[in-house]
Amino acid sequence: METDTTDQSKDDILICLPGERLCRVEDNVVLGEGTYEQGGYIYASKSGIVSIVESEEKYQMVSVNKPGFHLTIPATGDVVTARVLVTTPKFAKCAIFCVRNVLLESSYRGLLRKEDVRETEKDRVDIYKSFKPGDIILARVINQMEQSFMLSTAESELGVVIAYASDARKNRIPMVPIGWGEMQCPQTTIKEPRKVAKVLPESTIKSEP
């Protein structure tokens, strides 16, 4: 590898620049982030530190991660955090503002269709019973359309995470989930239907007396 290894002694990080050849492609080597394959060799496509990660079945993932900040684009399959902007009977429009645990600088447009809200009885879903504008949801990107990302909250740990009661009061406090289909506002004890994400540990959910 013709990377300059002069000052590597300090904390043996391997710095690479775009276009530098990293290693030959073997069967157990997987292309990681920030690399591309050309003519049987793996080349770096970003500047940063080379990291070779041993995953379980002895696969080595060669990836280049750039120190400083991390520019991410929501890719298909990522779990993203988004805010619901508009709900219509057929779909909910949301703005994705965080991918995995990286906060994005500019939000991307997301679209959550009715059929992708939950796995069971897909077609009898009522969007207004699952989401309200202003909710913060966890969703998975299933497809990238021309103008926006297609989201889905079909799995159990996806759905509404923070929701506010829909009666417009100034200091609204987030509602507490009381089961997987409902949330309650601690002040006004109003119950509102939501598709709750199963993220909170069991103990914090006060079971209905």
């Binding site: 620049l17 775009p18 120190p67 400083g68 966890l138 103008q147």
Partner: protein, 317 residues
């Protein structure tokens, strides 16, 4: 008889552009005589200064000085494609916009046309560099601001954008380097200054009949696979001189490449050190918190701790 176009330039009301480019053909001749003719061609870049990450407000920015041509390049993270045109193949779209600073160039009426020309050429040069298949259905905006114009504008802009793209974390196939060479009255000038470029422009190449060739060649190359990203020639020259100029520019590109690699590597080290410091600070913060919790625990306030500090579900440590 001369049509003087009174262009109102608010920023420039006080300051006047000092050096006036030529006004009569006679000026070109005696400027050319006054120029010290390069005896043999030294294919070396001018004294260059490159700094990546100059702006705090933008993620990917770079500033470059090539001789006294000064250029600032900014790369914004990709955003959705506005107009969905059917022409988009399976690649992302790259748009480049070049703007002259108000004080950058003397004659102001040709500025908008030069801006459009440079923008078009810059897009063509950067397209092979960027891995556009990674940001499908997205568009990447690159903006270049030209602060001072002393020739080789396009090649400096290309180098500066290459550094800005790498700095912004956009995946690129290689590091791009570009340079310019020109030939006027059978004399080869490498890295021509603005006045020499002015000589070549506006059809004035062949004042004297015996003038065989004149012309300018700009070449952007990516050396890992010896690929030429953009090779653009204007003027009038034989194929042999075309190849001769091409080789000069390739040589300059090699030395420029070393410089850019050093700049980028230093930049990565610098950010790595910053990262380390940040992680260090974060670790200390966690320890301090853990210390408080431990102390409170001995005083038996278990329920109080449990009730309001929920285990933060979203950040997977």
């Amino acid at each position: 008889m001369l049509r003087v176009a009174p262009i109102k330039n608010t920023l420039l009301d006080g300051a006047t552009i000092t050096e006036q480019l030529y006004t009569t053909p006679k000026d070109c001749e005696d400027f050319f005589e006054s120029l010290e003719k390069p005896t043999e061609v030294k294919a070396t870049p001018r004294s260059t200064f490159i700094r990546a990450g100059v702006l705090t407000t933008v993620l990917g920015s770079a500033y470059m000085e090539y001789g006294n041509t000064k250029v600032l390049a900014i790369v914004a993270p990709p955003r959705e494609l506005m107009r969905s045109s059917a022409r988009r193949m399976n690649m992302g779209v790259l748009n480049c916009y070049v703007n002259f600073a108000a004080f950058a160039s003397g004659e102001l009426e040709t500025v908008p046309e030069r801006e459009k020309h440079l923008g078009g050429m810059l897009t063509k040069a950067l397209e092979p560099l960027v891995c556009r298949n990674e940001f499908l259905n997205f568009q990447l905006d690159v903006r270049v601001l030209i602060l001072d114009d002393d020739g080789c504008l396009l090649s400096t802009a290309i180098n500066c954008c290459g550094v800005a793209l790498v700095e912004c974390g956009i995946s690129t196939y290689d590091i791009i380097t570009a340079s310019t060479a020109c030939i006027y009255k059978n004399l080869v000038f490498v890295n021509p200054s603005a006045k020499v470029e002015e000589l070549l422009g506006q059809h004035r190449g062949a004042d004297s009949a015996q003038m065989e060739e004149h012309g300018l060649l700009m070449n952007a190359s990516m050396d890992t696979f010896e690929q030429l990203a953009q090779c653009q020639q204007c003027g009038y020259m034989k194929p042999e001189t075309f190849v001769k100029l091409l080789d000069y520019t390739l040589e300059i590109n090699k030395s420029l490449r070393q410089l850019i690699r050093r700049v980028l590597t230093d930049r990565v080290k610098e950010q790595h050190v910053l990262d380390k410091k940040e992680q260090e600070a974060e670790r200390q913060e966690d320890e301090r918190l853990a210390g408080i919790i431990a102390r409170l625990k001995e005083q038996g306030l278990h329920e109080f701790i449990q009730s309001n500090i929920k285990e933060d579900p979203y950040t997977k440590k």
